[in-house]
């Protein structure tokens, strides 16, 4: 894995090295130009990545038993599902809003972590979602994502309730 990561990073760095040159104008006598610093960083990184690659290849050569990458079991693992859930939550928040994504994530992740009592999971998730919403949206005035369509209407409805409570206080 380390070898693959190093090779991928070297290729990406070489691409970035030329890309930043195209994007920025030529340096002058008193101005180093926008490409200077990134190119220094990229050059140093490529040198170190090659050193790391050589090191890893040496270690691999010394080892008699090579590690096997079991891709199928990785895709079936809890870890991969966890990564997918985090990604879905992050990507869906602009559309379904904080309230729905938070509740959905809390329920699905709790099940992933091994919680079997579905009623308990749903109840806990609902309570936690509202506590977080009240603390951050209500008390700290951090405008949490509303989402679009029906989700936006729901968020606006709850914001209205919070505003009325605040006015009442």
């Amino acid at each position: 894995m380390d070898i693959i990561f190093s090779i991928a990073l070297i290729i990406f760095n070489i691409y970035c090295f030329f890309l930043v040159g195209i994007e920025s104008p030529a340096p002058t006598l008193t101005e180093l130009g926008a490409a200077f610093w990134p190119r220094i960083v990229i050059s140093l990184m490529v040198i170190l990545l090659i050193a790391n690659l050589i090191n890893q290849l040496k270690i691999r050569k010394e080892k008699t038993v090579h590690e096997k990458i079991d891709i199928i079991s990785f895709f079936k693992s809890k870890l991969f599902i966890g990564m997918v859930l985090v990604s879905i939550m992050a990507l869906s928040t602009p559309y379904i809003g904080f309230l729905t994504s938070c509740f959905g994530f809390l329920v699905t992740y709790a099940i992933l972590l091994g919680e079997r009592n579905i009623f308990k999971v749903i109840l806990n998730s609902l309570i936690i979602t509202f506590i977080l919403y009240i603390i951050f949206q209500g008390l700290l005035d951090i405008r949490l994502e509303r989402g679009i369509g029906i989700f936006r209407n729901l968020a606006l409805f709850l914001e209205g309730i919070l505003l009325n409570i605040k006015r009442g206080l």
Partner: protein, 499 residues
């Protein structure tokens, strides 16, 4: 100094002012302990309360919120591995392993005492040498600031001495990420691939929250069979009373505490450098001078003390350029400056001479806050520690959601939430492959500061690199950088030769 002390105490010991400072301390610790609220956001949230106050009391109140929020940030760093503020990131290295061992109370105790000592040292330093230090800070031009940031970068070699190549690669990835967005001198876009989100650059907070908090939850998910066992361990950690550090244990960290407090104050005074650089640098120096550097990162008190004393001392230090020169050292100081300017206070070099009550007020507030803070933070920490008793099936997802709010609240931008999620997944890969997430964060923190100051210095020297590096302070700092970078290499060669 004694005049200032007397004036400061007169202002602060007024019952109503004292109550306001205590309230500010409570607010600060609670805000700081919330993963979604940074120190500058805590000050911004407290700002509306300060509008109604007298300017001298307002600055004391805001200072108490600022100092206490930095301390509060250490609470979540220790208990959940979520640094409440970026400067608390190094606290996670030793604080979290200690909490995992069931010594959460002890870790928090060390964190609070170190924070208080750091804050008090900075307060006295501020009162004693503020005008003189301010004039030294004025000597710092772009080349000196580049040297300071480069010193921070050279710290990378100390973060993981067993894996220097991978640590340096991680740091360089951070430096490259800092290049994304607008070029600091010419305003040309770099590595944006036409995306408007990337045009404003990659924010540090979502990356940091992702790398630390989300990665940790993914790690726990991968080994979810063991979660039940760690729940039991965590229940032990909530017994705060039984595991507080003893006076003897605290006394044993006196060297680290002194070094980190002084270093934090000095770094805090430098305009542009801040609590984050101070805590990373202090942690790295501790690794250099410690008698048992291999233990740092495994959950020992020295690691917590180094980070927490330095970041609190830096908050005091950052008040020096604000009050004596009118230069805010960081975001929180800028917010405080805005509050004072709104009140009609003219901040600048003449403030110390014409209106010393402001410096006295800040000095007094820092003294009181750092004492009150220990009691307040211990009470808050006890409440937070109870959370550790919650099963991980609930706590894990909640940590991710708090991290999400933390990333989002920065700019109300869901793009930052996606960035956080990506950082969390990459962070897990980093852990698996032996790369260093802290080094990446440090690179990201220092990237723009290094580049912009280096290029500015080059332009001011009319393109003469010799002129850039031969300024006295720059030269001394650069020699220190080279020594820091070369030292592990020499150590490695010597170790090989001895075989």
């Amino acid at each position: 100094m004694f005049d200032l002390l007397g004036m400061g105490l007169r202002i602060i010991l007024n019952p109503s002012t004292f109550l306001l400072i205590t309230a500010g301390t409570i607010l600060g610790v609670v805000f700081g302990a919330m993963p979604g609220v940074s120190a500058s956001m805590a000050v911004a949230l407290a700002l509306p309360f300060a509008y109604a106050m007298d300017p001298v009391i307002a600055i004391a109140f805001l200072v108490s919120v600022y100092c206490a929020s930095i301390t509060g940030g250490g609470i979540t760093a220790i208990l959940f591995k979520i640094p409440g503020t970026p400067s608390s990131a190094p606290t996670t290295f030793d604080g979290y392993p200690m909490a995992q061992r069931g010594e959460a109370g002890k870790a928090l105790g060390f964190s609070l005492i170190a924070s208080a000592v750091g804050g008090l040292v900075a307060a006295f330093a501020m009162a004693l040498v503020s005008p003189q230090l301010a004039s030294i800070a004025l000597e710092f031009g772009p080349s000196e600031l580049f040297a300071v940031s480069f010193l921070g970068i050279s710290v990378l070699s100390c973060l993981d001495s067993d894996n220097i190549v991978k640590t340096l690669i991680s740091g360089l990835i951070g430096l490259l990420l800092a290049c994304v967005g607008m070029d600091p001198m010419l305003g040309i876009s770099r590595f944006t691939w036409g995306s408007s989100t990337l045009l404003s650059g990659i924010e540090m907070i979502p990356i940091m929250i992702g790398l630390f908090a989300v990665t940790e939850v993914l790690k726990q998910t991968a080994k979810s069979k063991k979660i039940e066992v760690s729940d039991k361990e965590k229940n032990e950690s909530t017994k705060m009373k039984t595991v507080l550090p003893s006076v003897k244990e605290i006394w044993e960290t006196k060297g680290t505490m002194t070094r980190s407090s002084i270093l934090g104050t000095v770094i805090g005074i430098l305009p542009g450098a801040g609590a984050t650089i101070a805590s990373f640098l202090s942690y790295a120096i501790e690794k250099k001078v410690s008698k048992h550097p291999e233990k740092l990162g495994t959950g020992i008190a020295d690691g917590i003390v180094a980070s927490e004393a330095a970041n609190n001392a830096a908050t005091g230090g950052s008040m020096v350029p604000l009050l004596s020169l009118g230069i805010p050292g960081g975001n929180a100081a800028a917010i405080m400056m805005t509050a004072l300017v709104i009140k009609g206070v003219q901040i600048g070099p003449l403030l110390i001479k014409t209106q010393p009550q402001y410096l006295a007020s800040v000095f007094g507030s820092m003294l009181i806050t750092n004492i009150v803070m220990v009691i307040v933070a211990m009470a808050v920490a006890k409440v937070f520690a109870k959370i550790l008793a919650i099963p991980y099936t609930i706590l894990g997802p909640v940590i991710v959601m708090l991290a999400t709010i933390g990333a989002y609240a920065l700019k109300n931008n869901t793009g930052d939430v996606i960035l956080m999620a990506a950082a969390g997944i990459i962070g897990y890969m980093f852990v698996k492959l032996g790369y260093n997430s802290a080094a990446l964060v440090l690179g990201l923190v220092l990237g723009q500061m290094s580049e912009s100051n280096f290029r500015r210095a080059y332009t001011l020297a009319n393109g003469d690199l010799v002129k850039v590096f031969t300024r006295p302070i720059t030269a001394v700092l650069m020699i220190a950088c080279v020594l820091m970078l070369v030292y592990p290499l020499i150590k490695y060669i010597l170790r090989k030769k001895s075989w």
